[in-house]
């Protein structure tokens, strides 16, 4: 798909939202606007939000909407250039040297180059979308390296020279905000904070995502989860957990548990912290009853 197509796809925020919905992702106006702006301004999109609000899903949906392949770079503490940019295949290089004998061999040929996510995207920006996931987990040094990539969209390989992107790639960054990102990185991006959706939207998301959950169940789950999130929990349940909960409760109900009980039994997929479980347990029955009412 070419860039002209990307512009066509992102004709307006509403068009973006409609296309995302077709990829089974419900975006609110604000997120649709941010995605629209990121594509049209040609800037990276930085999505921040609590764990489980659908940041990675949003990236997948964007890739699908553009009809491109998603290349994911999962960040972690200690990630370095060898994992993000490129690496030489030393074993093959050694073999090639041995094999060549007296002949000359170019050990810095393409076939010895292992392209890591950033280089993969740089080589075919019109076919790929880059997702830099959970950038807050990486350390500051890596952030600086990424900054260089995001501002010039080029990678310098000492043995080969500089590789530039033919067109500007579409890049999505996500962060759980476990630490503050550098201002320099933030200001290069179009920014969006994904919050928890309201009950109605969450019910829609649950319906869309799970497939076999009844509408009444989805609505009850959404209301109950909203209620649970207001409690002081160590890890408030995300949207993904809410979907799981609806799924699990439906399965249990089909297996013969009556409704309120099915919800209570399936709580393990919603709250995954022993302390939180014991904090919410006494109230759970009432919350579920009220949500079902």
């Amino acid at each position: 798909m070419t860039r002209a197509n990307a512009v066509e796809v992102a004709a307006s925020p509403e068009a973006v939202a409609a296309r995302l919905a077709a990829s089974r992702y419900l975006a609110d106006d604000s997120l649709a606007t941010a995605i629209f702006l990121a594509i049209r301004l040609g800037k990276p999109l930085l999505l921040e939000g609590a764990p489980g609000v659908g940041k990675t899903e949003a990236a997948k949906a964007i890739a699908e909407l553009l009809g491109r392949e998603l290349v994911r770079l999962q960040c972690y503490e200690g990630i370095d250039a060898g994992h993000a940019l490129y690496e030489w295949n030393y074993q093959r290089q050694l073999l090639a040297i041995r094999h060549a004998g007296e002949h000359e061999v170019d050990i810095y040929d393409d076939r010895f180059l292992i392209a890591r996510p950033l280089l993969q995207v740089l080589r075919a920006p019109e076919r790929r979308v880059l997702l830099v996931d959970e950038i807050d987990r990486s350390d500051h040094e890596f952030e600086a390296l990424l900054l260089e990539f995001l501002s010039d969209f080029q990678i310098s390989i000492p043995e080969r020279g500089t590789i530039r992107a033919a067109t500007q790639p579409i890049v999505i960054l996500t962060s759980n905000r476990t630490r503050e990102l550098a201002e320099a990185l933030r200001r290069r991006c179009v920014y969006h904070w994904i919050g928890y959706p309201d009950a109605a939207r969450e019910a829609e998301i649950i319906m869309l995502r799970s497939g076999h959950v009844a509408e009444a169940t989805a609505r009850a789950v959404a209301i109950a989860v909203q209620e649970i999130r207001t409690r002081p929990l160590a890890k408030p349940p995300g949207i993904a957990e809410a979907v799981e909960w609806a799924n699990a409760a439906t399965i249990l109900e089909k297996g013969g548990s009556p409704w309120p009980q099915a919800f209570r039994r399936a709580i393990g997929v919603l709250i995954k912290d022993e302390e939180d479980l014991s904090a919410i347990a006494p109230e759970l029955g009432r919350i579920v009853e009220e949500a079902l009412a």
Binding site: L37, L41, Q168, T178
Partner: protein, 403 residues
């Protein structure tokens, strides 16, 4: 998109591909259409209120407004949120400024949303450059006086803090970093460098080159109780904190009483007097009551802060006298110990040889503490912090033996 063509400011907006620094927009500043003025002045307003807004963000903002139409005020708001990227903590403040600027609302009374939760004050908003420039502007006499102060401070190291500062970086416990460093012994094969050696040696394999994981010193987190009952010690503790911030690679300092205040960047100022004065000005709850549990929970509820506690040496400087129920303190300490590499409580009460952890609060938190030590003097504290790398039996076993 046809909308761009008849837009008032499409003329000054550079092509998306060539504009990256935003300098383009700045240079053509004089020819800006009048309709663009409110956007520029909004950015100025934000900067005035200590929002970091870069020139390229302003260009991005105006481009975004153009792209969106704008069809409504909401479009402008969305564009501002997406391109100027206010941090989620200051979102409410940002919206208030937006309303006051674009709708002409009355000046917002912005002092955060008041609620019964522990207030968190983060000094990150005030920039360090500011204090730097202020210092530079001062006359020669004054700055030389400052210099004298600091040099005197350096010479007569009466409280032993100078030595503490110098020793600290190497005394903190270390962890293995993911990064590697070149080494001559005890490491794994460095394929990249070895290969280039082999190539230059024409296919022969000389002695292989090695790499080893680097050792990084752990983070140090100091949480200082500034409530009334700690009055005698807070001055000393702040001096210690200043030395720690100056000495350690990564240290963070918070004070808590009825509120939680981050004072690290104030303490980064090299000159001790100046740093302490700035830190003192930041803290609003000197010598008040203690709400230790809620304050520590508030600390943990900020992802950025609690991420810092992960794998760090956490030293709480407090007497552990909690008013009312200690349930929250217990929860907070348990969560801290789950995150921290080592959790220590230094209490001035332990300076008394008759001290036993007898209060209900201390007894409750003792099982999760790694150390419960004497915090009554700077000497004992500095000695303790410098010994953090050495293993010690858990606090509970030590105090059981004593009592």
């Amino acid at each position: 998109m046809t909308r761009d063509l008849n837009d008032p400011f499409s003329s000054f907006i550079p092509q998306r591909w060539q504009d990256r620094g935003g300098r383009e927009g700045m240079r053509r500043g004089e020819s800006l259409p009048r309709a663009a003025a409110p956007f520029l002045s909004f950015a100025r307003l934000l900067r005035h209120h200590a929002f970091p807004v870069a020139p390229e963000q302003v260009t991005g903002f105006m481009q975004a407004v153009t792209l969106l139409g704008p069809r409504s005020m909401n479009d402008i708001r969305e564009a501002a949120l997406a391109t100027l990227a206010p941090s989620p903590d200051r979102r409410g403040e940002f919206e208030a400024h937006f309303r006051s600027h674009f709708y002409g609302d009355a000046k917002p009374a912005i002092e955060g949303e008041e609620d019964d939760e522990t207030r968190i004050k983060d000094d990150r908003g005030t920039r360090e450059e500011e204090s730097q420039t202020i210092r530079q502007e001062k006359g020669g006499e004054l700055s030389s006086a400052l210099e004298q102060l600091s040099s005197r401070d350096f010479r007569c190291d009466a409280d032993g803090l100078g030595q503490f500062r110098r020793k600290l970086a190497s005394a903190l416990p270390v962890r293995h970093s993911f990064r590697t460093t070149r080494t001559r012994s005890r490491g794994t094969l460095d394929l990249r460098r070895s290969l280039s050696e082999i190539v230059s040696a024409d296919g022969d394999i000389p002695s292989p080159l090695l790499r080893r994981r680097q050792a990084v010193s752990r983070k140090l987190l100091l949480l200082i109780d500034v409530s009334g009952s700690m009055k005698l010690h807070t001055a000393d503790y702040l001096k210690l904190a200043h030395a720690a911030v100056q000495g350690a690679d990564r240290a963070e300092v918070f004070t808590f009483g009825t509120r939680l205040t981050r004072i690290t960047s104030a303490l980064r100022i090299r000159d001790r007097e100046q740093a302490l004065a700035r830190a003192a000005a930041l803290v609003d709850d000197w010598d008040g009551g203690t709400r230790m549990g809620p304050a520590l929970l508030a600390f943990l509820s900020v992802p950025r802060f609690s991420a810092f506690a992960r794998g760090a040496c956490v030293v709480v400087l407090s007497d552990g006298l909690e008013r009312g129920s200690h349930a929250e303190l217990e929860i907070a300490m348990r969560r801290f110990s789950a995150r921290a590499f080592r959790l220590s409580l230094a209490t001035p009460l332990a300076g008394d040889p008759r001290f036993r952890p007898a209060t209900a609060a201390l007894r409750a938190v003792l099982p999760v503490l790694d150390d419960l030590v004497d915090g009554s003097s700077l000497k004992s504290l500095t000695d303790f912090i410098l010994s953090l790398a050495r293993p010690a039996p858990a606090a509970e076993t030590i105090w059981k033996r004593v009592s």
